[in-house]
């Protein structure tokens, strides 16, 4: 049968990985119809998906993440993969945090493709050497090291002034206050936590980071910020593991040319961001068959490996061969398992894992506005945050 896959994996590496899947499917006698729509974390792809759904013609599979899977499930569009999951023993292959996201109402409706770690700090050690400074491991250190780097003519923190990048940084600071605090604020949306003292502290730390960022950051793409680190213009960047692709593309090796470390204060914690394919109910039998075949193949080690090697992330499937992966990825894998044990594995708010896109958007608005305007205090921002989250629940 035919599978039509709506996704936004369009970069060269991603495309190559998707191609593996495509070839496998075709080898299995199915046809693969590729529907790729790039843009802004899948904004356009989601628009397409919605119109396709409304017109009663959804694709077989679509790249949907996090809580949105629940929303689609609630609307009754997704089909159960329990058969495939049972056959493939997904429950044992996937950590509970991951499989929870893939299930709606207890049934598997989506397959995970990878796990990104968001709370990474990327640094250029050469620059630190020159400035005579140490790579910070807490936010306090980070703020202290700023003037030193600046004095050496280096931008301490490379940042792109876009809402999601602001939020990525913000959630890293929040995470440093502990996984519980993080969960209470961003998963449970506890009002008291959202406007409490700790949140105010997080917000002020966040605001202090502005001093470390150059004036021109507004609107800058994340990869431009990364290249500032690569070419020594800037010292550090807080960004998910996809930033590694930029370093690799520039021919840099981890450990020597750049270092990947957990974001300050989050050493044994892990904010995850899982990409997944949700499966839409198909009317034709052979299409459904193909769909199940697809779900099965996504979980196969071969795809998981290729895809994640290309993307810089780690496989969602546990117990894979570690040899092809680089140091950063290996560190990520270790932290993933450890943090899961320590209960410090948390879903990324900035990447739509912890909450619905409504709440996420509300948080974005407050955070980015606070970060960019000079006339809001941390207290006001905390209050706004609580109000906005409440309003959008």
């Amino acid at each position: 049968g035919e599978v039509e896959v709506l996704h936004y994996w369009t970069s060269g590496g991603e495309a190559a990985a998707v191609n593996v899947l495509k070839q496998q499917m075709e080898a299995a006698g199915h046809t693969w119809t590729d529907f790729a729509v790039a843009g802004g974390g899948g904004e356009s792809a989601m628009t397409v998906l919605k119109s396709r759904a409304v017109s009663g013609n959804p694709p077989s599979a679509a790249q949907i993440k996090g809580l949105d899977i629940q929303e689609w499930g609630e609307l009754g569009f997704l089909s159960s993969l329990d058969d495939v999951a049972a056959a493939g023993e997904w429950d044992s292959l996937l950590p509970a945090v991951v499989s929870d996201v893939m299930k709606y109402d207890g049934h598997y409706v989506a397959v995970p493709v990878n796990v990104h770690r968001v709370n990474w700090l990327w640094a250029n050690p050469e620059v630190f050497r020159k400035a005579g400074a140490e790579i910070p491991t807490t936010w306090e250190q980070m703020i202290e090291v700023g003037p030193k780097l600046k004095a050496a003519g280096i931008i301490p923190l490379a940042h792109g002034g876009q809402a999601w990048q602001d939020a990525t940084t913000f959630e890293a600071i929040a995470l440093a206050e502990g996984a519980d605090f993080y969960r209470k604020a961003f998963v449970e949306h506890d009002e008291a936590t959202l406007q409490g003292e700790t949140m105010i502290k997080v917000l002020s730390t966040f605001k202090q980071l502005r001093e470390l960022i150059d004036a021109d950051s507004s609107g800058r793409d994340w990869n431009v910020a990364t290249s500032m680190v690569i070419n020594g213009q800037a010292a550090m960047q807080i960004m998910g593991d996809w930033a590694k692709g930029e370093f690799t593309a520039a021919g840099k090796t981890p450990g020597t040319d750049y270092v990947c470390m957990p974001a300050p204060g989050t050493a044994d914690m892990f904010t995850f961001n899982i990409d997944s394919l949700a499966m839409f109910t198909q009317s034709e039998d052979n299409r459904q068959q193909a769909q199940h075949e697809l779900a099965k193949m996504v979980m196969e080690p071969k795809f998981q490996e290729t895809f994640n090697l290309n993307k810089g992330s780690i496989p969602a499937r546990q117990g894979m061969d570690r040899t092809p992966f680089d140091a950063c990825a290996l560190a990520s894998m270790d932290d993933f398992t450890q943090s899961a044990e320590k209960n410090s594995l948390v879903p990324s708010m900035a990447h739509g894992m912890s909450t619905s896109s409504r709440v996420q958007g509300a948080i974005y608005d407050v955070v980015t506005n606070y970060f960019n305007s000079s006339d809001i205090t941390a207290e006001q921002a905390a209050e706004k945050l609580a109000r906005a989250v409440n309003a959008s629940l």
Binding site: T10, G12, E14, A15, D34, A36, S44, V48, S55, N57
Partner: protein, 290 residues
Amino acid sequence: MVKPQQTLNQQLLRYGLYAILALAALVYLLPLWVMLLTSLKDVEEIRTGTLLSLPASINFDAWGKAWSGACTGSTCEGIAPFFGNSFQIVIPAVLISTLVGSLNGYVLSLWKFRGSEILFGAMLVGCFIPFQVILLPMARMLATLGLANTTTGLVAVHVTYGIAFTTLFFRNFYVGLPKELIAAARLDGAGFFFIFRRVVLPLSTPIIVVCVIWQFTQIWNDFLFGVVFSGADTQPVTVALNNLVNTSFGGKEYNVDMAAALMAALPTLLVYVLAGKYFVRGLTAGAVKG
């Protein structure tokens, strides 16, 4: 504009005029220049160099890649395969919307009837409807009509939302035509369509040009409708371009982006150049006295 003058003053004025026009042209060209330069550099040079610096060596790799190598999904065939789709959409859509618009404009200016003015006003509201709000109902409508994910469906959508504009252009051009022309033709025995074809259309050259420029550009460059209403195999070139440019992971290849954008714009530019010839003067000269 009526006669070229020879005096010194006039000469100076003319040089001034050319200077202003040239300056304006430079300002308009600046972004193009940046794009062109970028498309000729390699990724490394873009990362390290400055914006306006000339490329170390001219290098058309990016153009080649954009044309036939860049990935826009699981396939890496550049934007070339998508041009066909775009043409399939844009040509009929432009023709139909221009034709319908000119007929509508003709009715609304030269064959007014009671309430036609109100109809026109009501039609114009269509110009202000945000396209985002019609995506879902339109998707449903197309599915009902069996046009979902087809080029025909896209043509229909573009025509639907282009008509308000084309009607506006033509109507506002035709209100300037002398009414006597229509009167004379009606007495000569010509019917509605005959007058349109033989008397009115030949006087419409400049506005047809404007209308075609507008519609061609709008439809060719449309992304929203193109992405939402097309199928996997009917995507227009803007969707491909978007997939190239808006890739959020992995190294960004600005040179390829720029080259692709420039290539995608070529058909539109060609239309501008070709259509420009028909900005003719004095179509109604000698028609009436008064």
